[in-house]
Amino acid sequence: MKLKGAGAAFLRELKLAWSGGGGAALPLGFFAAACSLTPLTLGPESDLLKAAGPGVIWIALALSSLLPMERLFQADLEDGTLDAYAGSGVALEGIAAAKTAAHWVATGLPLALVSPVLWIMLQGPVAAAPMVALISAIGSAAFFFFGAIGAALAAGVRRGGLLIALVALPLYSPAMIFGAAAMYAAAAGGDWGPALMLTAAAALFGVALSPFAAALALRAAID
């Protein structure tokens, strides 16, 4: 019963994200624009872009992942959906996990698919492009689940986007460090394994911690 509720929330959220007037596509646009405008500030020299590209893509991915967070729980808190969930006996932990996972599928995975394109534009080696997509997918999961903690904390705050960023960005640092290291290893054709494992560990930690912290915060926001 409880799992059923989470599954329904996941599908509902996914449907909303893809049909709701392109809300899921906005972070994609931001990600693409932020990365492809960096040569305007760094200059077009390919050596410099090669050196800075992986890091630029990674920080842009982290920031793009923050964009869907403001509305992640806020809309459901405002229209009483969360109250209904809490009242119906469905575990809020499951709801929080389902909503975050749905947003990651709707927005995080497309970000990971765009990432190799930006990688090639920033002079990254084409051979590493599939790796970049994989690293970005895992990294964005870490960003989404840690971001969801901030999203739940700020759910009751109007214009809470900046608060979410301030709360979530320090929590991003492990995934930022390991993910960027994996990206640089992929760029250099080196051994990206350990860094990718550590990125995945950071993501798993986020997946394990986030639903509980978010549910706790949402319960506080409801009553």
């Binding site: 903690i149 320090p170 911690l209 926001a221």
Partner: protein, 242 residues
């Protein structure tokens, strides 16, 4: 009933905390002054870093305090979340700005120390970087208290954030260490492992002074917080009474 248990403890706290608040503050001030005197006048110059090493006496203890204060806040947050203890919320909230000041002090003095030793105002040293991230966590924590509509909601959100931050701190520390060794040659920032006795004593005295000051100021701010809450309640009661 709930209100009663909420305010029974703060009453007792208010009754006994005043001498401790001012006592710890003054004791801390005195110990810091004595430690600084020892550090500036008595301690010998370091063999490698010369007199620049004297910065250690204000810098290293403030980094300790930045972590201690956060650990204290996490403990108080835990108590607040599990037992809904009103005083624990007040304690965590009151400790936060003091801890943030110690963190800022550690960062600033670290930066100034870096210039004569490393030749740069900001070295991305692992330890300083993780303290910088800790400082941002402090800012987020303070921002959560500011942003919420009601103190009850703010207290719970802040407590959750504090515990999440505390759970992440070891991981952040490890990742920054890993990142630092990846990008940098080992720095010669060996502080106190084999520091001579004359070096350790002033540092410990200042550290204890900081600790005492932190305790005193936290108590003072807790008292201020409780008095303001009580005044707020009275104002509302007055408004309700017409």
């Amino acid at each position: 009933m709930a209100v009663l248990s909420l305010f029974a403890n703060p009453h007792r706290f208010m009754a006994i905390s005043k001498p401790f608040a001012w006592g710890f503050t003054m004791l801390g001030g005195g110990m810091i002054l004595y430690g600084v005197y020892m550090g500036l006048f008595v301690a010998p110059a370091d063999v490698r870093q010369g007199d620049a090493a004297r910065i250690m006496f204000v810098h290293v203890p403030s980094m300790w305090l930045s972590m201690f204060a956060f650990a204290f806040m996490a403990g108080a947050s835990f108590v607040s979340l599990i037992w809904r203890h009103a005083l624990a919320d007040v304690a965590a909230k009151s400790a936060a700005p003091i801890g943030a000041v110690f963190t800022a002090l550690g960062l600033i003095t670290g930066s100034i120390w870096g210039y004569p030793i490393w030749g740069t105002w900001w070295e991305w040293d692992a330890r300083i970087t993780s303290v910088l991230i800790l400082f941002f966590i402090y800012l987020g924590y303070l921002a959560v208290w500011q942003a919420m509509e009601t103190p009850q909601k703010a207290a719970r959100a802040a407590a959750i954030l504090c515990l999440v931050g505390a759970a992440n701190l070891p991981i952040i520390h490890f990742s920054v260490d890993w990142w630092n060794t990846l990008h940098q040659p080992a720095t010669f920032f060996t502080e106190d492992n084999n520091a001579p006795y004359g070096f350790k004593v002033p540092m410990y005295i200042v550290a204890l002074g900081y600790l005492s000051l932190f305790g005193g100021l936290t108590l003072i701010n807790m008292r201020a917080e409780i008095m303001m809450t009580r005044a707020e309640m009275m104002m509302q009661r007055k408004l309700a009474a017409g």
